[in-house]
Symmetry: C2
DNA sequence: TATAACAGTATAAAAAAGGATACTACATTA
DNA sequence: TAATGTAGTATCCTTTTTTATACTGTTATA
């Protein structure tokens, strides 16, 4: 039994899935990878996410100590996001999840060759 | 890009998390482990789950080819659940997720020593 | 002067996930 | 005869998650 944020988990796996589950978190972590990305760069990397969701998920990840947020006191604003050490320690696991899904897709389904486990466009055009 | 059940995934990791995400699926898979369990045994192993959710999640897992369902034509009914090969191939990944959560909990938080990555009570009293 | 870029916030709504309760049929047990 | 165990369904309801849309203030650019 484990407790985090007033939630009781029977198993630490549940905690892990709370931290990286949902529609966006793992994708954000994955795309951050080893890079530092600005808010707008992340937004462009995940075109389907709304601004609100991106903000919300980044706040959660920051609160959970997986993502670091650095605010440049500039105008117009500049905010950079990067993985903390805890966040980076998730990368191999995310890679495993990705690889398993790939195998699953290739064995069970066939819609979609050319799958990749790399973040699609590691655009590192920081300003 | 990959498609499964009319859902488009940008990355196969999203697919994986759809298959094992949610409140119960990973826990069910984990508790099945190498055992075969009857519906009521699973229910007792996860006391908090409702009958509806257990049925629903097991159906999903079956549809996705992760769990096998064997019906004995008896009265009262007897139905046994076990992992398929695809399901078993997830076990190492679940163990990794569990272990990561354990480390995270020990480093970030402290509420809850004696965490375990073993299914709490591997009760294998099949009738 | 109007527009775009930046990093958001606010509000409402829709969709998905999860939960509570009652019910089924049949056989065995008390 | 009534209660219990089996593996569920059916219905309704609540909570959580996700989406859509409009809006903020400042600066640089066209």
């Amino acid at each position: 039994m484990i407790q985090y944020k007033n939630i009781q988990y029977q198993c630490s796996m549940e905690l892990t899935l709370d931290l990286i589950g949902g529609k966006w978190k793992s994708l954000i972590l994955w795309h951050l990878g080893e890079n530092t990305l600005r808010f707008s760069e992340l937004k462009r990397t995940l075109p389907q996410i709304t601004q609100k969701m991106l903000t919300q998920q980044l706040r959660d990840l920051e609160t959970d100590g997986l993502v670091h947020r650095y605010i440049y006191t500039q105008i117009p604003p500049k905010v950079e996001y990067s993985l903390t050490d805890a966040g980076k320690s998730l990368l191999p696991i995310l890679a495993t999840l990705c690889q398993w899904g790939l195998n699953y897709a290739n064995e069970v389904e066939v819609d979609g060759k050319d799958l990749t486990c790399e973040p699609s466009a590691p655009s590192s055009l920081s300003q």
